[in-house]
């Protein structure tokens, strides 16, 4: 039945798409009077050429893995969760409260507690839209958009009035206690004899993200709940026939989604900033949408897409460092990557399919 071998669909097409995206990015770079080859080299070097670069790349990727998984869980139930931004914000609040409430003696204790805090708060922020969708039919896209704004307002209030350190100019919470410090890559890998730059942000949370990716795969494809989520996502009428309660699936899927978004906070809030700052999420919730869709809602795809975006973020930063290329150009490159790999993939697939069908016909004739 398949017109193309699997590897072509999974590897060749994305590869060509990315090359196309970079080709057009190169055109833009060239148009503003810079050298595209140098630019690409700078990006790749910056993102993967040093342990510090790798660490930054993975740090950003960690954020995107969490939000990408969050969007994907909901999407498997055909729920479009645009609220990752708000849920991650609230997750930050949860992590902060946990980290500040107890003088943690060691991160091994602090991390699980913070994870629970972040997941709980993120899930809670997703719960209301989920409940309204399940019980009142209120469109989840609107309610999650609204909850992003409400979340931002809530955090704005808490940061300026409640959590802020008195006398400080900065709207941020107090610094977390030493015991809540998550080991970063240099601390993790030093005992193994691998030297990582000590000042780069990638940390323990990356491994939690990998674990979540694996658990996501288990959940969606190996458990009854995942089975029910996918079944509901494909056909609500069939789900009802099978005795799957729609309201239950909507709420559970959104709770998991919110929890995953909330978990992002162990990376950016606990792992990197070690305090809650204003606008800590920085749009990772929205990038998560692109990551999930580009990754076709599959954990491996999400992992790769998150890495790609991590690369774009870190490589883009290097571009601004060394090439004085405006940071908005990096946004343009991101846009082109999303466009070509995510939406215009058929532009590559269609001709490729023809080639493969022709090839297979030739083979048949020979045989």
């Amino acid at each position: 039945m398949n017109k193309m071998p699997k590897w072509a669909d999974a590897v060749l097409i994305p590869l060509i798409s990315i090359l196309l995206a970079f080709f057009f990015s190169g055109l833009v770079i060239w148009a503003i009077g810079k050298d595209p080859v140098v630019a690409i080299k700078t990006m790749v070097d910056g993102a993967f050429g040093s342990t510090s670069g790798i660490s930054y790349t993975l740090y950003y990727a960690t954020n995107f893995i969490f939000t990408g998984l969050a969007v994907a869980v909901a999407y498997h139930a055909r729920l479009f969760n645009i609220g990752g931004e708000g849920q991650a914000m609230l997750g930050g609040l949860g992590v902060t409260l946990v980290c500040l409430a107890v003088p943690w003696p060691h991160w091994t204790l602090a991390l699980p507690a913070a994870m629970i805090g972040g997941a709980l708060f993120g899930a809670a922020w997703a719960f209301i839209p989920a409940w309204l969708q399940a019980k009142r039919g209120s469109h989840i896209v609107i309610t999650t958009i609204m909850f992003n704004y409400i979340g931002a307002a809530l955090l704005g209030y808490l940061l300026t009035r409640v959590l802020k350190v008195k006398g400080s100019m900065v709207t941020e919470s107090a610094r977390f206690p030493e015991g809540a410090h998550l080991p970063n890559f240099s601390e993790i890998f030093a005992p193994l004899g691998i030297n990582f730059s000590p000042n780069a942000p990638a940390n323990m949370a990356f491994f939690v993200a990998l674990l979540c990716t694996f658990l996501f795969w288990i959940l969606i494809w190996k458990t009854r709940l995942g089975y029910e989520i996918r079944a509901y996502g494909q056909s609500e009428t069939a789900a009802k026939y099978a005795g799957i309660a729609p309201a239950r699936i909507v709420i559970i899927a959104m709770l998991i989604s919110g929890a995953l978004a909330g978990l992002m906070a162990i990376n950016n809030v606990m792992g990197e900033a070690e305090r809650l700052i204003d606008n800590a999420v920085e749009g990772a919730g929205f990038i998560g949408i692109a990551v999930a869709l580009m990754g076709r809602n599959h954990p491996i795809g999400i992992l790769l897409a998150a890495l790609l975006f991590g690369f774009l973020y870190q490589g883009g930063a290097e571009l601004s460092f060394w090439e004085s290329i405006p940071r908005e150009l990096v946004v343009v490159i991101q846009a082109l990557v999303i466009m070509f790999t995510g939406a215009l993939d058929n532009m590559v697939r269609m001709p490729l399919e023809k080639i493969f069908v022709a090839l297979s016909k030739d083979k048949k004739k020979e045989a």
Partner: protein, 320 residues
């Protein structure tokens, strides 16, 4: 709260609703034809930029309008290329457009004007002037009706009147014209349209053209109102318009009410930012979030289930 204050709030609501309404109608045409459009935000931004840039250079907002519409159209067509011609994911394409607009407007703006992505300020003919309807001064003296006419109805720019005119016009096109019948059909069941011998692709592209034009108007309105382009100046209005569209259940008149409601809530929030109840001062953040909170409450309490056009979000594939 006196009568004049109410009028002023309503007046502000009209101004705030105008870009939302145009954008919402843009989304309406697009989604009614089965193309989901979360790229509204990007189109709005692109249009605002080109309108601001062209108006600044030529000194004429009408040329700015043309440029804004063309820019938004170009984005619309890109969306069409991805989601209609190449049957790509409409959501991804929309997300990409939003990024593209956010980036390109600044990159290009900076290389043109060297003002950090801002365009030079617009003045005089570079902006839409407010239309004072006939007799507004004379009528102002008549009690009740007069001030309403003078404050509320009169004194908006051409685009506001156009936006409000676009509502009955959209309704008429959708429900009274052949084009509208086909457009609605293609959003419900493209197979029916295809087998009736009408090109699904052409219909969907036409819908995107209309959406592009309407977004172009909305973007130009923003640029004119703010007298120039500032990066990211759409400030989430595309998303709010999308919410309003769902709120409106994809219907033109409801779209009017939905966007007016959003405009009104924002106007009230602007006007009453700091309210003190005795000793307790309601935090400003609460008042700023109030429009969004109310939206959720109204949605859950009164609007209920919104069913999108059946084929929206899916590309039409008859042959694989």
């Amino acid at each position: 709260m006196d009568y004049l204050t109410i009028l002023q709030i309503l007046d502000s609501a009209l101004r705030l609703a105008t870009p939302l309404l145009l954008t919402c109608l843009a989304g309406l045409f697009s989604e009614r034809a089965g193309v989901v459009d979360i790229g509204l935000e990007g189109k709005l931004l692109a249009a605002a930029f080109l309108a601001g840039a062209a108006a600044a250079v030529t000194g004429s907002i009408w040329i700015g309008l043309l440029a804004g519409v063309l820019g938004s159209l170009a984005f619309s067509m890109l969306h069409g290329l991805a989601s209609i011609t190449f049957q790509g994911d409409q959501l991804i394409s929309g997300v990409a457009l939003n990024f593209l607009a956010a980036g390109l407007t600044v990159v290009i703006g900076q290389s043109w004007f060297k003002l950090g992505g801002r365009t030079p300020s617009l003045s005089g003919d570079g902006r839409f002037s407010e239309w004072n309807l006939p007799f507004s001064d004379a009528m102002a003296k008549i009690p009740v009706v007069g001030p309403a006419y003078d404050e509320l109805i009169s004194g908006h720019t051409a685009l506001t009147y156009l936006a409000f005119l676009a509502v009955p016009l959209s309704w008429w096109v959708l429900y009274r014209s052949r084009f509208g019948l086909r457009l609605r059909a293609v959003g419900e069941n493209p197979g029916a349209v295809d087998t009736a011998g009408i090109s699904v692709v052409r219909l969907r592209y036409s819908a995107l053209v209309i959406a592009g034009v309407l977004c172009g108007l909305a973007g130009t309105y923003l640029a004119s109102l703010a007298a120039g382009f500032v990066k990211d100046m759409s400030a989430g209005r595309g998303y709010i318009a999308l919410a309003a569209l769902i709120f409106a259940k994809w219907r033109p008149w409801y779209a009017l009410w939905a966007t007016l409601l959003f405009g009104l809530l924002e106007a009230i929030g602007n006007r009453y930012q700091s309210i003190a109840l005795g000793d307790f001062v309601i935090p400003v953040q609460f008042m700023q979030a109030l429009p969004y909170i109310l939206t959720v409450i109204i949605l859950a309490g009164f609007v209920g289930k919104a069913i999108p056009p059946r084929a929206s979000g899916q590309s039409y594939v008859k042959e694989r």
